[in-house]
Structures are given as structure tokens and as C-alpha cells.
């Protein structure tokens, strides 16, 4: 036989919870299943109360008292140390995060370079500084020999016994 579903909670709360439920007494008088359920609840309650009363009369050991008091005093004496420890840890974490960010996206964080188109005068000046090369000669192959003469006249001859300065005339020897 199962106890009435509507009364189970009321029975449990009346016996263990201490609820005052006058209607319950009448129901228990009529319903055998609920009486059995109530007896079970009383038994559970009695078992645990008996166990609670039989708890060993242990006294807190002295080291619990002194140890606890010492721990508290230690904590009280060094609140700033703990505080600074957290601040240091936070600063280190922030620095690490910034480093990781910088390394992961160099294009975003690198200093901006402004690209300015060079004027012809600047290009000419830069060309004057550069040493002549085969590439330069090849680039200028389309030019007339006179123009090349003018262009090459701006370069100093390369020093050294084996290196003859290039001239427009030597272009004829080029393959």
C-alpha cells in the first residue's frame, strides 16, 4: 500500500519539520498506508536524533585553538604583503599580455611609415650616389649613347687595377 501522495509531504513536515497540521491527524486515523509512512518518518527522525545525542563529547584540541589564533594573527600582520603580491601578479600578467599582443600583431603596432613618392630630382640625386651596375646599364640600354655618356659621366670610376670603368663604348662588348 502506498501512502497518499497529497499527504506525504505534510506528514514529513509535521513530524520532522515541526509543522502544526490539524487535518493530518484525522487523515492518519483513516489511512493505514499513511500511518505506516508516518511511522517510517518517526523512525528516521528518531535514529538521527539518537545519533546526534550520542556524538562523542570531544573537546576541541588545544592546537586547533592556538593554531587558528596564530593563523589569524599572521594574516592580520601581513595584509599588505598579500595585497602587493596580488598587485605584482596583476602587473606581470598585464605586461605579459602586452608582449604577447605586440608579438602576435607587429603590423598593427609597428610605427607608421609614410610613403612619399620621390620627385625626379631626388631620384637623380639617389642615382648619383649609387654605384653603376650591369642592371643599371641594361636599364639604360634603350637610351641613346649620348644620354648614357651623360649619365655615366656622373659616376666616379671604380678603383682597382682589374676593374675598368664602364663607358658607353664598352656597351658594345656586352652580350
Amino acid at each position: 500500500m502506498k501512502p497518499c501522495r497529497a499527504f506525504k509531504k505534510r506528514i514529513a513536515l509535521a513530524i520532522v519539520g515541526g509543522d502544526n497540521d490539524p487535518g493530518l491527524t484525522e487523515h492518519l486515523a483513516d489511512c493505514a498506508a499513511c500511518r505506516v509512512y508516518a511511522d517510517e518518518m518517526r523512525a528516521i527522525s528518531a535514529e538521527h536524533i539518537e545519533r546526534a545525542n550520542q556524538l562523542p563529547k570531544a573537546e576541541a584540541p588545544l592546537r586547533l585553538r592556538t593554531g587558528f589564533a596564530n593563523t589569524l594573527r599572521e594574516r592580520q600582520q601581513r595584509p599588505l604583503t598579500l595585497h602587493w603580491r596580488w598587485i605584482t601578479a596583476g602587473a606581470a600578467a598585464t605586461a605579459l599580455a602586452i608582449l604577447v599582443y605586440l608579438h602576435s600583431s607587429p603590423s598593427k603596432t609597428a610605427p607608421k611609415t609614410t610613403t612619399v613618392s620621390k620627385s625626379p630630382e631626388i631620384e637623380t640625386a639617389a642615382a648619383a650616389i649609387r654605384e653603376p651596375s650591369y642592371a643599371a646599364y641594361h636599364r639604360r640600354l634603350s637610351r641613346s649613347p649620348e644620354e648614357l655618356e651623360v649619365a655615366l659621366s656622373r659616376y666616379e670610376p671604380i678603383a682597382g687595377p682589374s676593374s675598368e670603368p664602364f663607358t658607353a663604348l664598352s656597351l658594345a662588348d656586352l652580350p
Binding site: 509531504k9 535514529e47 546526534a52 585553538r65
Partner: protein
Amino acid sequence: MQSLNPALNDIGLSYEPDVLARAQARDPDAFCELCRPYEDRLFRQAVALCGDHAMAEDLAQETLLQAWKSLRRFNGRCRLFTWFCSIMLHRYQKLIRRKRTVLVSDEALGALADQRPSPAATSESNDRAALLQRHLDALPHKQRQVLYLRFYVDNSLEQIAAALACSVGTVKSRLFHGLENLRKMRGLKHLDF
């Protein structure tokens, strides 16, 4: 609300409001003074929960330290001892979790060298107490909290609700479901929980 266990209420656990105020203002001496009347009883509850004096000592100390950290949140709506017990049950829950993890890994070792006394060697009352504790341990944490505070601390449902920061209705519901689970476990008491 009637008391389930008047024997637990004979201890005059009270504190001076001034001491509480000083402790809440982070005065460690005041907190030690505040805790002193509760230490024995708290330790007893810890022994009952853990069944081991060394572990109970750790649990009691952790409870008091946690209480020190969160003392400002104590609003006086429940008894201070109830508040300590609710903290202790939280810590105990963590302890059980850790213990279960250790037990799983130690199972093989335990099978090789089980040094516990045999069931026949322990007394019947100890067996029954251990069984009741295992039943309580097998309950969901919230149900265990409510049942423990009701049976072992003898708190009213209102005090339990205040200590656990929930409504009386919630406490009633947890109490009922916890009792239902205990009833089912009693029916299966031959099984080892």
C-alpha cells in the same frame, strides 16, 4: 516551531554584540573570543561528519578560517552556530569530493591491504551510526545541509532558511525530498552506500 532535540539546546551559546562588531571590524582577538564557546561543539560536529579526529580538526579549522573571511556577511538572522555549521557543511562537501577522488585512485591499494576492522569487530551502534552517516553522505548536498541542520544542530526551518539564504518553502521542499531519499535508503539498508 518545536525543537526536535532539546538536548542540543542546553548549551548557552551567545555572544556580546560588541565582540561581534569588533570581529567584523577585523579584530582577530575578538573573533577568537567570539568562537571560543563554539569550538568544542563545532569540533564535535566535525568529528560526527568525518568520523576521524585529524580530519575533523582540519575541517573545524577550515570552517573557522572561512568564517573569519566572510564574517562581514553574517547578518544575525540566524544563530552564529548555525552559520558556522552551514559553512562547515560547505567545506565538508568539498572534502567529500576530494575524498571520493582519492578513494577511486586508492581502491586498488585498499584491496591489497585493507586495515579497517572487520564489520564483526565493530559494535552494532557504531555500525548504525556509520550507516546513517553514509546515508547522509549519499544525499544531494542541499538536502544533506537541511537535514543535518535540523537533526544535528536542532535548528528551526526559519533559522535554516536564514543560514542558507533561501526561503522556508525551499527548506521544506529539501527537507521532504531528503527524508524521502533517506526512507528509500533505509529500505535498501543491506546495500552499502
